[in-house]
Amino acid sequence: MKLVSIDKKDWEKGIERLRPRYRLFGPIREKTYHAFQRLDEGQLPDLAFANTRLSPKDIVFPQSKAILECSLDETKADHHIMKSIAGDDTPQLVLGIRPCDASALTLLDLNFNTDEVKDPYWIQAREKTTFFGLACDTPQSTCFCTSVGGGPFDEKGLDVLLVDADDRYLAKILTEKGAAAMQAAGWQDESDANALLERRRGAAEERIRSVVHTDRLKDIDILRLHGAPFWEDISFACINCGTCTYLCPTCWCFDIQDEVHQKTACRMKNWDSCMYPLFTHHTSGHNPRGTKLQRLRQRFMHKLKYFVDKHDAGIMCVGCGRCVHSCPVNIDIRHICNLMNQYSTEDACEAQG
């Protein structure tokens, strides 16, 4: 794994070299927050941010994406025959994704890219996208990546890891794709500052203050956790909005919807949320998760138990803290994870306040 030093004086020049080859995305400051956006001509990513308000998952998993279409005009030979809407193959490059958000992509891979079925839209978006991560020096009080198998300098899901080292960036090249982009940018000064990088890593990891415990989740029986009494207390405040799921870099659930525009039918893949009653509502009127307790429990059981049991890849959470920050009623996954992890039958008798 090659380490390259990028003098900050060469940063803009390199980005200009990348622009003709890649569709560039990066964090942009908007009023009081940062958001990942397509970088317009001459626009540079603003890397002075804690984390973006929304996760950048929509770059590879858009909130709303037209996937199939066909004509409904019966005079056309191929009417009513759905065809895939060919995706655009233009390579794209995301500058400055945080390691937590990048490692989330590897969790999404477990859903969208399996041995049995592959989502071609996901695969295409993943393949055409190169991720330059920005090692995190400014973790927030709600960050807990180090508890969930990640870290502020974590490399999972990245092609290049950038580390801000004052007057330069240290770029750790992690994949072929990353190497190609580095070459295209003309950033080629090899560096031996591994020790510096490791020092910064250690310092950043120490700055993570939130801790969650996940060690016992795997051993607790699904049905016992499912029937735990604490769900009533936790779910009381929940208003069943989709904020946590839409902001989450690892939430992947989606809906499929048809729309008709004049004589064209279009099938879309839209984000969906387990928080919504409609998510599981049967046509008959029956709803297996008809109460907010059931829906809130589904979200946390999925992330912290079902996923753990199914994939043996830790919990389905990268510790970015967005849901903690943005939940309108302060439902805190750290608290719930710890409650679940320490749950035992004795707790079942405890009176609920």
Partner: protein, 55 residues
Amino acid sequence: MTHMGIEPDRMHFSWISSAEATKFVVVAKEVTEKVRALGPNKHFIKTEARGAQHV
């Protein structure tokens, strides 16, 4: 509706009794002319499935 930016002349309310044929004709003509003057509506029209930010 006008508060959100629909042109005021596109909106019209009238009480017309079933016996007021003349008023109906007058109002219908007036509304038609006003809407024609505004041209085709640009708002609340979906032409294709948009919304995909990054194709």
